[in-house]
């Protein structure tokens, strides 16, 4: 899924690059700013004019002698030596292709993120409402965490797909039910850090698998964003891979929710 999207992005970029003909935007210039030659003519006049000359010359020719004097032949008589010391010539180059590609990529990234954000804000709660009817709602958060750790921990990276069958689906949907409106700050009953030991020892299991996720599954999580961002495959739940992807997405969402709680609600960090 991700690859397809990547390909399409690259195709679009290549298309863009290929179709835009070379216009007047050159990549090199020699920019000279000089006093206007009128002031050189009349010794009494105080001029404030200045002239800007942009030329395409090799770097070693980018000076007054190479750029200014050839243009003023005849206009000034031997005053070149007076104008030239005041001239300011700069040779500059750039790469419009890089600029173009970068700006297009930036636009793409921002619009993808915005679309996904809008999806999470608007569509996701709606989809979950439909699911809500099918599953009974869990009220105990520990149960949720436990079911997640069961599905996540023994897998240890390799067998996660086997285990994340029914239980994780159940988990995900129950989770969605509970936190569908997560963008609107949900105040979750803060689990006191160490007092309920049962859940904490379960949570311990999350850490290694989470770590592996970071190690190996980097791309997969990006997949998540993209896959769901397209919004096409939401109904195909039977697929194991998709299931795992959804599972990872939920894990990520939970992390983000935790971060939000730390920063926006409890103000323990990043004030």
């Amino acid at each position: 899924m991700n690859h397809k999207l990547l390909y399409s992005i690259t195709l679009v970029i290549i298309f863009h690059v290929a179709t835009t003909q070379s216009q007047s935007y050159e990549d090199k210039r020699c920019k000279c700013i000089c006093p206007s030659f009128k002031t050189a003519d009349n010794t009494t006049q105080k001029g404030t004019d200045r002239m800007l000359i942009i030329d395409n010359v090799p770097p070693n020719k980018c000076n007054c002698d190479g750029v200014i004097l050839p243009r003023l032949v005849g206009k000034i008589k031997g005053k070149g030596q007076e104008i030239c010391p005041r001239c300011d010539c700069k040779y500059e180059n750039r790469n419009t292709t890089i600029i173009k590609v970068v700006v297009i990529i930036v636009i793409w990234i921002i619009s993808l993120l915005v679309i996904y954000m809008l999806f999470l804000m608007c569509l996701d709660p709606l989809l979950n409402k439909r699911v809500k009817a099918n599953y009974q709602e869990h009220t105990n958060e520990d149960v949720i965490i436990a079911s997640d750790s069961i599905s996540g921990s023994p897998g240890a990276g390799t067998t996660a797909s086997l285990n994340s069958g029914a239980s994780s689906r159940l988990f995900r949907d129950t989770y969605r039910n509970k936190y569908s409106g997560s963008f609107v700050t949900t105040t979750i009953a803060a689990r006191s850090s160490g007092s309920d030991e049962g859940s904490e020892s379960e949570v311990d299991f999350l850490a290694p698998s989470h770590h592996r996720t970071q190690a190996y599954g980097d791309r997969e999580r990006d997949d998540t964003a993209v896959t769901v961002g397209n919004g096409q495959d939401m109904h195909v739940r039977e697929n194991n891979v998709l299931n795992r992807v959804g599972h990872q997405q939920d894990k990520w969402k939970r992390q983000v929710r935790e971060q939000r709680r730390n920063i926006y609600d409890r103000h323990t960090m990043l004030n």
Partner: protein
Amino acid sequence: MEKFPLKGTGNISSSNGNNLSISSAATNHPLSGDHPSYQSVGSKPGKGSPASGAERHITTTTTTSLTTAPGTVGAVPVYEADEDGMIDITPGNGGLTNPNYSYSSYSANGGRQDGVGAPSSAANSSAPSITTAAASSNGGSSIGIGGEGPGGMSSPTHTRFGRDFHHSDHEGISFAGMTDTSDDIPGIGQYEDFHTIDWQRDIARDRMRHRYIVKKRQDSFWDLLKGAHDAWSGWVCVLLVGLFTGCVAGVIDIGASWMTDLKFGICPQAFWLNREQCCWSSNETSFDSGNCSQWYAWSEIFTSSREGFGAYVISYFFYIMWAMLFALLAASLVRMFAPYACGSGIPEIKTILSGFIIRSYLGKWTLIIKSVGIMLSVSAGLSLGKEGPMVHIASCIGNILSYLFPKYGRNEAKKREILSAAAAAGVSVAFGAPIGGVLFSLEEVSYYFPLKTLWRSFFCALIAAFILRSINPFGNEHSVLFYVEYNKPWIFFELVPFIGLGIIGGIIATLFIKANLWWCRFRKYSKLGQYPVTEVLIVTFITAVIAYPNPYTRMNTSELIYLLFSQCGISNQDPLCDYNRNFTDVNSAIEIAAAGPGVYKAVWLLILALAMKLIMTIFTFGMKVPCGLFIPSLALGAITGRIVGIAMEQLAYNYPKIWIFSGECSTGDDCITPGLYAMVGAAAVLGGVTRMTVSLVVIMFELTGGVRYIVPLMAAAMASKWVGDALGRQGIYDAHIALNGYPFLDSKDEFQHTTLAADVMQPKRNETLAVITQDSMTVDDIETLLKETEHNGYPVVVSKENQYLVGFVLRRDLNLALANARRIIDGITGQSLVIFTSAQPVQNLGPSPLKLKKILDMAPITVTDQTPMETVVDMFRKLGLRQTLVTHNGRLLGVITKKDVLRHVKQMDNEDPNTVLFN
């Protein structure tokens, strides 16, 4: 190292095998998983090669009885051998057949040094040094243990090494009966969120892994390749970090400059170009606005006029609307996807580098959102910069890429070496100052910075700067917008105004820090904190409304700094250069001249801009968008400096003969450069805000490309730091660390109180210390203990009555190991004894015992209860401890954790100790 054939291992093992029931697999596989035999081997390269000796960064000097100090490289093998010989000798164990704990087989070997061990070592070309070392310590040590230990006395090996050897590689384990705890328990060696890391443990783990690889690489060509890959992986990793950082910085620079100009107009022929690039080859570019016919301002598109009231209103409106849109996007993206991406990130990076875990703070979502968010928030025209977030972005890249190399990805202490290098790369691309970046990493953010990291940071910064320079995002052949080249001399007397600028900078900086802290505290504790997006929108709106009328605040802050830094020349037609001299008049010499009306107007506008920037930055820094404060500080200082510079210049023009100018201005030359004052002022304010000195000066002179101004910059930075330190103790980063209560043990502060370890340790009087006994608690007991207490680690003692210390076990490891055992090993019930010793317990009829010696740290750092806290704090700082155990008369008395130390330090400084963020 070639002198040490691996057969030697086999020989030792096989000689063990003579005694014990070790399967023949042990001899077949040279790495038969036997850690003592490994250690005996491993100690050789330690002596032979400086490389492995250099792996010991921190020498542990403690008062513990078990951990002796590996002081020098030369002493290392002796220490190893000493430990093997001294500690592993258990008289009661010698003849015991213990297939489970094979190290006792080696201790038997060691004990019978003259008997079995000698022939095997004779066959080995290099073993004699081991045996002699062991033998030298043999007598005393065996007496010591024999005198102390009863029959079942534990025989502590260096579990740190032993365990981690297994951890790093367990495929070589082929012992029969070693199926239980020798398996890798997943997650051991990792940390939970918001915990501190144990540098000593992680470095020991890495040392072990390194030795294993060094030893194994003689096995086959493939292993040799793996060893080579391991050796250069640090360099490869920083190379990749540099490459990616340079690319990301280029993308951010280009994207931000494009979006900034989007507020003003668009280039319809090539929408991806910003205004300057759009007018790149247009000869009719007007000097005032930089506009040209290709560039369409929004007013031009809608009213087809560029001038006039209507056009102004439309431009104003579009400016505000774009700013609001960008700010809204930045704030909501941050809020939706990665809340950790807000802020500058440097206080958190400092905390993380000092050994704290904040999960997913350096993750990929943070990276993406921070990169996008910083582009958006810079383009929104907010009073913030992208330099601080660049450090965070580079650290994210470092963290993500370190997972490609298990050496760094799986070891938090080692990972921090990469992160230090990445921080250097971040500053390197932010200012185009590679050396400044390295020094910034050393001076400001890093906690543990050995020479090896210095070189890697240097390389990383170099690569990043090179890549950014090749991308050439600003089209000026430099990686920053405000690069200026100076080569003007300065007069000696000018040091006085420079120092004066330093003082002003220090005052402005202190004012800024205090006000910002006050506002952040208000945001934290009031209802304001509940409306992060609204707050961003309001601040953006106010900023945009105020900023647009004043041309100096309307322009991008980097451009403003560039304008202030640069000299007046023919290409500069800003009112700031409106002197009564004429660059365009070829007939008059360029000399010092009276300021024209344009200059005075510009000065007034600059003063307004200064006030506006100062106030808006106070409210901006700390909002929930990515925001740094290098650029605003530089701008504040540059404005101040430029104004002072103009004043000096006019003084020199009006009174050229005063003695202070020592005749240099009397000839009418242009002897005072206001741009230089702007530079010095910028350095002063930035120095006052961040309290940097060396790195700041280097960054500034790398920015200006001249070493001539080092002395003025140094004078200003020093004056600013002094004034800042006198008026307020902390720099902005330290103040934010304190505000958030991050567990950062600052190595700059001195601990000047006379308390003792006994005053700080837990438990306090009348409380009992939660301990685990080495061989008399059941699984149920331990689980109850884990439920009833919430400590992060438990000391293991001999017995409840004899609280002699055996080791230390972490709560997390214990949890993992118990759960792992219940899942994998049959016959583990609640009644199973948990034993942390190697001795086989008396076989009763109960269920089979659970052996957890592997997760036990047998070399915990200990102090006595009378140790002054000054020493303890120093140990925590310099060794990077997570906890230390307190003993009295050799008995365990209590524990001091890093949290206790931090709370104690806060208490002693009369601050609220409960604010420390910690688990």
